[in-house]
Symmetry: C2
Subunit: 439 residues, 2 copies
Amino acid sequence: MSLIEHILDLSTLPAERLSPQALGLARLSLLDWIACAIAGTDEPVAVKLRALAEAEGGRSIASVTGAMAAPARMAALVNGATSHALDYDDTHFAHVGHLSVGVYPAALAVAEEVDASAEAMVAAFLVGAEAAIRIGMVLGRSHYNQGFHQTATAGAFGATVAAGRLHGLDAQQMRHALGLCSTRASGLKSQFGTMGKPYNAGAAAANGVECARLAALGMTSADDGLCGLQGFIPTHTTAPELDGGRGLPPKDVFLFEDNQYKLHACCHGTHAMIEALLEAGELKGRDLDNIAAFTLRTNPRWLRVCDIKRPRTGLEVKFSYNWLAGMTIRGDRTGDDRIYQDALTEDAALSTFAGKVQVIGDDTLTDMQAQGSLTLKDGTTLSISHDLAVRLPQALLAGKLRTKAEAMIGARGASLWAMFGDLTGRSARDVGTALRKMG
Amino acid sequence: MSLIEHILDLSTLPAERLSPQALGLARLSLLDWIACAIAGTDEPVAVKLRALAEAEGGRSIASVTGAMAAPARMAALVNGATSHALDYDDTHFAHVGHLSVGVYPAALAVAEEVDASAEAMVAAFLVGAEAAIRIGMVLGRSHYNQGFHQTATAGAFGATVAAGRLHGLDAQQMRHALGLCSTRASGLKSQFGTMGKPYNAGAAAANGVECARLAALGMTSADDGLCGLQGFIPTHTTAPELDGGRGLPPKDVFLFEDNQYKLHACCHGTHAMIEALLEAGELKGRDLDNIAAFTLRTNPRWLRVCDIKRPRTGLEVKFSYNWLAGMTIRGDRTGDDRIYQDALTEDAALSTFAGKVQVIGDDTLTDMQAQGSLTLKDGTTLSISHDLAVRLPQALLAGKLRTKAEAMIGARGASLWAMFGDLTGRSARDVGTALRKMG
């Protein structure tokens, strides 16, 4: 089956055929996405995009984080960029990008427009995310290595599918929506480190909303915008993977189940170590003086990324195994972006502890694994390990995401979970209202 | 000088350093562009985009052809698509695309927003068009052959420059506007033959308006979005031309002076023949029975494109040398898209005349040249020839464009020329009002 037929097939899956496990994760993603958006409200890129939304005005259709309601396209643009501003949202490694920040803003905006239930919005998100993952996989590593940003490019198609599903597009309209998206999707990695990166996520969401809406209005486009002659795939990658889509898993396998969450506001390469230390209950809140030595084994690629031995700024702390190990053991809230202040680099206890840490590259470990051994002052040793690739039970993940939300946005994190921990009876407009008021 | 410095340098050229010849042509382009937009008002793609604009609403900033005022970005989107719907707008061969439909909608919308004079709008268009031409040239043939549509891709940068100049961006802001555009610009040729093609032009204009406005609001982006590492040029062409921009002509050479106008609503490959026949004054309105034979020489590439011997539909007439020769000689208004009806294929006089026409491929002719020889019933022969690459004197071109406008939109064409044949004292808002009311 060609990629476009595969995506069309997927986009019309009835809700009862969606994997409950994947839907559960999509609900958690919603909460995490909202928390990231609220936390990003005061970031400069968010402020500037809200100024654009205010300057344009328009019908009050969909919610803008921390502000007013706006037309759906504009709300998706602002919310996408706002939620990606802190770079703290979820990641899907096979997709090679961040799913929530491109797809959820489109799903929410259109769900508010058509007054869908929160559950219908989550289902539309899940189907859009699956489409984005699969298109991202076919675009593959060569697309990313050439300089494209799957979050924005494959993400726009996911946003189109989510928005199109909520508009109730038939297969032919969805085909046109995808065709329009194929000529609209864009996004470069060379924006990393600038406001252009979160803008990419907003643009993906906005493109999806626009293309789905135009298809609903009867706009037509190329029949196969994805893999047709000079379609998006052949023009945007030199080496399409999975036989151009024919080698993708069937539509009832939900790749979204591998979605990953960033639980700590520091380099992803340090997360396996942090989780391993957190899992060693014996260490909780322990005085760093009681630890004689800590040896960490990690994939060698991380040694060039996050093994800064003596960080000089709060930002460098985010890339320092030995600083983060000390912080984790003594109970610092590594999930709170605001704790990474320059003053941490002069913290005497952390500095002393750093001298006891040894980091060893070990290529038998994947880049999602960490292993370590601690020697306490009394001579006992403790082995720790963690593999980020192992899926957490959802109840456990939920707890961690809630802790993260509370670290990021304080009491609003608890309210968020109280309101939307169970979506039964909730509408997308309830979610939008919360985003407007809590941002 | 790098391409980005070159474009920045160009974008701030003071009005008095712009070539009067190029400005004159830009004024003619404005009139031609408005006529194309008005003529496109009822095309399906225009109707659908107006429906989108009406659904979104928003502040009444800039004019939408045949409708209301809307936010600048939306007006640019609708007007770009509307003016390209008939595929009858101007072409720049070195740019490899259509300049007016991407750049003028952005220039007009922002000029209305900031209440600029019509002359300031034309100057901004010209500078934007020069930027689009140069970026299109560097992207080159490989970009086009890979499947990208310079009208949309290079056009978006031109729209950004035009919009940015009207917003009064300083060099640093313009750099950021171009950087944002580098992650936003898109557009594929695989949309040709669908509503996606005119949508590409609208998207280019809308992207330019959005990126310039965001830069004015203080958004930042990659320093060199064009030729920097994984910037737009290296990610969108395998063979950048002109040494990545270093080989471009200096900024005081105006490449826009080579802009070409489509004067007949049929295949471009037939235009040199039509102009050659029109220039032979002796033929004007002549009875086709008086002509014994017509031999046409044309570049061989056109034989596969527009040498349909017996057209079966009005559309095929647009690709038929022998039908169009008869129509031109007897004085049919080849500039009026509406005359290409299926009934023409059964016109007895044209059918008989077609039997007297011989078309010969001649590779000593460029694809912009035509030569022919007519033998009249009385035995006299007449040689004709035309080269589209030879620039017409502007007064002559103006007459032809006015005739085209009147063929397309009747008396409104004459009013347009009466109102804006001289732009002195006119504001961009006057132009916008005309577009709204006459569309």
